[in-house]
Amino acid sequence: METILKTTGLKKYYGKGETLVKALDGIDLEIERGKFTAIIGTSGSGKSTLLHMLGGLDIPSEGSVNVDGTELARLNSEQATIFRRKRIGFIFQNYNLVPVLNVWENIIFPITLDGRKPDQDFILQVIRLLGLEKKLDSLPNNLSGGQQQRVAIARALAGKPSIILADEPTGNLDTRTGDDVVGLLKMTGREFRQTIVMITHNPEIAQMADRIVQIENGRIAAQ
């Protein structure tokens, strides 16, 4: 199988001296195209940091990240942004919705930033699946945590990216909705041959993945 995400000797240190935090401490990871990978680990183990590195949102202290044959380190900030918005759908742990935009606008925001036309039928389908059709005109501040999370998911899916990086996408959802969302992710993943990397604390959801990677203290503890 073809490798789409590859990290070599990936390290990310924060601070220095006494306050040095080794968020990532040498991660070598290969993820295959079209696979659904779950990342688990205790809180503070470095999962979010790893996901940010994979998406080119942060710059490694050491080591490299290769996404679909592109060395992220080679890209300048502008190129990295364009690369990311075309290829990667991100679901953030804290949703990261734009407060001045309503739900619909938030969902199509990355696509329109890229100058593309949103595939409205597809997006509406996703919205319906996520149960957001009544909330399209609401501002993020007026949504519950779970609703905000679903908007973030819809936004990540809207552009049909080849890679979806999800940071605890079901953390705020009840078990049923959570299962539905993961089901949706898997389904669209299969349909569009998407590679999914998902952080989760929920062992059941982790079990739905093709592969589980466990991170502890910035290293891969088991996979």
Partner: protein, 858 residues
């Protein structure tokens, strides 16, 4: 839901720009205010500069007396006609001089009796604004200065008598008494060297008998002159030469109007340069503060930019967003700032140009507006540059994490044993964003320090010291010819008649009096004096002197060669004698009143230099040497400083052109020698209670009895000084106030943003148990900490700046240094009130939303 599908193209950046702009009303207000103030300052500066320039040019024209490009004094009417026909000559004005009006009341003011055509009059700022130019032999037109002197109402049809001589070089020539009917007048030009009294061509021709002269060799009667106006101000000399060559008049002498000469422009710039530099300095300071205000506002959004960057906004798009927001702010701030700035500038112009007669014209040059708008816009763009770069450089995740604190790493803080007090927390909060805290404190401190310095400098001026040099008595009256530099002083003048003097000296409230008489004679001086002169006037000094007064240098050489010069002897008693013999004005020797009154001693008046200024000798007879004046010998007792009220005045009429040495004798001795000389100046002091009565009496006297009596009062001198220096005072105060305002605005802004940006944090600490009283208290403590640090710094730096800097700056001159920090004392409570009030008001505002609402807020 289907209507969503039909939604027209959604432009994400534009939408966000619009909505962010609408969302941050209060913050926009501060930013708009900042932009407005920048624009206002620039516009005011430009308006002032442009108007000053305009007025300065106008003033130089008025000083040279005309605004045509060139003038010729040695030209015949035929030649003038040829010139006028040349296509490059726009206009040619002609005039014929008859003589100078010598009415007694005109003493000190040159009034030229001339015929002129309309063009010449118009270009000489002497075209009648009421009435018209004279047409018949009985008519004349003149300016209001002349009319006022002659005591004639400003009314066409009034009878005016002018007295003049056909040959002014002959003092005994028969004066002509000519009566005219006033046919026109105009506002006089104080800064001009002379006033014009226009007569008709008919009258002129009758007086000259048609004899026109082309030079001043044989008097000025019939002197024909023209003014040439060209189409262009550039290269006047070359243009004139070309015109002369074309008309085959090469070699014709002409003068280029000094006001057009490049040196004139250079002097104008030189004179205003220090002012511009000072202004620029202060404006840079103000600009930096405003820059800070705006930058704080933009920097607060960095987190937001990081967020949309993680969602795929490129650096270019973020820049577009930042500039889009800035431009919206500019669209409101700049136009308002332009209007207000121009109005402020217009209001300030009179203060700046008040001393320039006819000044006060406010420029509306388009450059003012385009320039200020461009500068303000540039300032804003520059302020955006950094946040834009920051948002671009920082990795998106980091930008996301950035919040109010500029360093994410947590510093280890030493906890006191008593746990965390509110004040301690407040202090720590200040340290959280050290860069901002430092910026705010610095800008506010800068404003306060500048304010203190300006104030200290302004108050250091000592009016008493200033007046002491210019006036030595409450009132100083002089003979009408005392200041007549053209006709000369008449030692037998009658202005200060016995009756007048008697009446004044016995007037109620008059405390002390003093007199000055003067006499001029040719004086043979001794070898020692010659040596002194040579020793004082070194080659360097002479070269310097020659640059502005070559005739004076010639007179010096002549005096040294022949050992002969003019001596002006003043007879002094009372106020002037006491004043000039004060220890600080005695340059050499020492003054003994009893010995002096004996009549064998004389005082020599020295040069106007401070102390000896490094000169080995003074250019006057040495102390102890003998001076012989008209047969009588005196011993030089001391050399005194040429105190203006004593020494100022015209030379005697008919005296030969020569260097002058001034001497002082007691009045009694003087009166014995020259009994027929009349009083030249009368000095008297009046007690405060009668100051106004005496002033009113004199006003009435000069209005009705003798319009020519020159009166100088200490009061009017002080007023005049105030009028002259109002511009600098207004400038300093305006700038200080603007800077202080900007500083306060900055303080308010940063406190408000600091509080608002922490809404969520406050909600959090409230949700975990801090009561609103405690929170409010903490915020107030924070404000007080801010104010306290600022004040402590301001006091320290101001004390240093005022105590050392200003003290040094104002040393010498008419100043008395007084250490004062008054502006700080005034600002202290204001600042403290703000520090208390802002957190309180902001907190009230916060309280209007529930904790939950605030927790959810982004």
């Amino acid at each position: 839901m289907t209507e969503k599908k039909n939604q027209e193209t959604f432009n994400p950046i534009k939408t966000i720009t619009q909505r962010t702009f609408r969302k941050n009303r209060s913050r926009n207000l501060v930013a708009v205010l900042a932009i407005l103030m920048t624009t206002l300052m620039f516009t005011t500066l430009f308006t002032l500069a442009q108007s000053m320039c305009k007025n300065l040019i106008e003033m130089t024209f008025r000083q040279t007396g005309y605004d045509a490009q060139a003038s010729c004094k040695a030209i015949t009417p035929e030649q003038a006609e040829m010139l006028a026909a040349h296509p490059d000559v726009k206009e040619l004005g002609q005039s014929i001089v008859l003589g100078l009006a010598e009415n007694r009341q005109l003493g000190g003011r040159q009034v030229e009796i001339r015929w002129a055509d309309d063009s010449y009059a118009a270009h000489s700022f002497a075209a009648p604004t009421t009435g018209r130019m004279p047409q018949s032999a009985e008519e004349a037109a003149m300016d209001t200065i002349t009319l006022d002197r002659l005591g004639i109402p400003h009314e066409v049809g009034q009878k005016v008598t002018l007295e003049w001589r056909k040959d002014i070089s002959d003092p005994d020539a028969e004066p002509v008494q000519a009566e005219f009917t006033l046919c026109g007048f105009w506002e006089g030009n104080q800064s001009g060297y002379a006033s014009m009294a226009w007569v008709s061509r008919e009258y002129a021709d009758a007086q000259t008998q048609g004899q026109l002269s082309t030079g001043t060799e044989d008097g000025i009667l019939g002197l024909y002159m023209v003014q040439v106006s060209l189409y262009s101000d550039n290269n006047i000399e070359a243009a004139m030469d070309r015109i002369l060559a074309d008309t085959e008049l090469d070699g014709l002498e002409y003068g280029v109007n000094l006001a057009y000469s490049p040196e004139m422009g250079a002097t104008a710039i030189q004179e205003t340069l220090p002012m511009y530099l000072g202004m620029a300095l202060v404006f840079v300071a103000g600009y930096l503060i405003i820059y800070n205000i705006f930058q704080i506002s933009v920097a607060a959004d960095t987190q937001f930019y990081g967020k949309i960057k993680t969602l795929g906004a490129t650096d270019r798009q973020i820049r577009k967003l930042i500039y889009g927001l800035a431009n919206r702010l500019c669209m409101i701030g700049i136009p308002v700032g332009l209007i207000l700035g121009w109005l402020l500038g217009a209001a300030l112009v009179p203060a700046f140009t008040g001393i320039i007669e006819s000044g006060g014209a406010v420029s509306v040059h388009p450059l003012i507006f385009t320039g200020s708008a461009a500068f303000a816009w540039l300032t804003v763009l520059l302020s955006c540059l950094r946040p834009a770069r920051l948002a671009g450089k920082v990795s998106p995740v980091e930008a996301l994490r950035m919040n109010d604190a500029d360093t994410p790493r947590r510093r280890k803080t030493k906890r006191s044993h008593t746990g965390e007090s509110l004040a301690g927390m407040a202090w720590e909060n200040l340290g959280r964003n050290r860069k901002r805290t430092v910026t705010v404190i610095c800008s506010l401190t800068l404003g306060l320090v500048l304010l203190s310095c300006f104030y200290a400098k302004n108050t250091a001026f000592d009016m008493e010291k200033y007046l002491a040099e210019l006036t030595i008595a409450d009132f100083e009256l002089a003979d009408a010819t005392s200041g007549n530099y053209i006709g000369g002083y008449d030692p037998q003048g009658t202005t200060l008649g016995k009756d007048l003097v008697q009446e004044l000296e016995t007037m109620e409230g008059v405390e002390t009096v003093g007199h000055q008489y003067s006499h001029q004679l040719v004086w043979q001086f001794d070898d020692q004096t010659t040596e002194n002169l040579k020793g004082f006037y070194t080659d360097a000094l002479l070269a310097d002197w020659a640059r502005y007064d070559p005739a004076g240098v010639d007179a010096f050489h002549h005096a040294v060669d022949t050992q002969e010069m003019n001596a002006v002897v003043f007879g002094l008693d009372g106020i002037p004698l006491d004043a000039v013999t004060q220890p600080q004005y005695v340059m050499e020797g020492s003054f003994h009143p009893e010995a002096f009154s004996g009549g064998d001693y004389i005082l020599a008046v020295g040069p106007a230099i401070a102390e000896k200024d490094g000169h080995p000798v003074l250019p006057v007879p040495s102390v102890g040497s003998t001076v012989t004046l008209e047969g009588r010998s005196y011993t030089v007792m001391a050399i005194v400083f040429p105190l203006d009220p004593v020494d100022r005045g015209a030379s005697e009429a008919g005296a030969p052109e020569a260097m002058e040495q001034h001497f002082i004798l007691p009045t009694d001795t003087f009166r014995q020698n020259w009994p027929e000389n009349t009083l030249r100046k009368l000095f008297f002091n009046v007690d405060d209670a009668h100051m106004d009565t005496v002033q009113n009496w004199l006003d009435a006297y000069t209005a009705t009895v003798d319009t020519s009596l020159p009166v100088t009062s200490r009061q009017s001198m002080a007023q005049q000084y105030e009028a002259e220096t109002r511009s600098t005072a207004v400038m300093g105060n305006t700038i200080s106030v603007v800077i202080a305002l900007v500083g306060v605005l900055n303080f308010v802004n940063s406190m408000v943003t600091a509080i608002l940006s922490r809404r969520r944090e406050f909600a959090m600490i409230q949700s975990v148990g801090m009561t609103r009283r405690q929170l409010c208290k903490m915020l107030v403590y924070e404000g007080l900490c801010y104010a306290a640090v600022t004040l402590v710094l301001s006091y320290l730096i101001s004390a240093l700046a005022v105590g050392v800097g200003i003290r040094g700056m104002v040393a010498g001159g008419f100043t008395t240094f007084r250490f004062t920090l008054l502006p700080l004392y005034i600002c202290t409570p204001i600042l403290l009130v703000f520090a208390l009030l802002i957190p309180f008001v902001c907190f009230q505002n916060l309280e209007s939303q529930s904790i939950v609402e605030r927790l959810r807020m982004d």
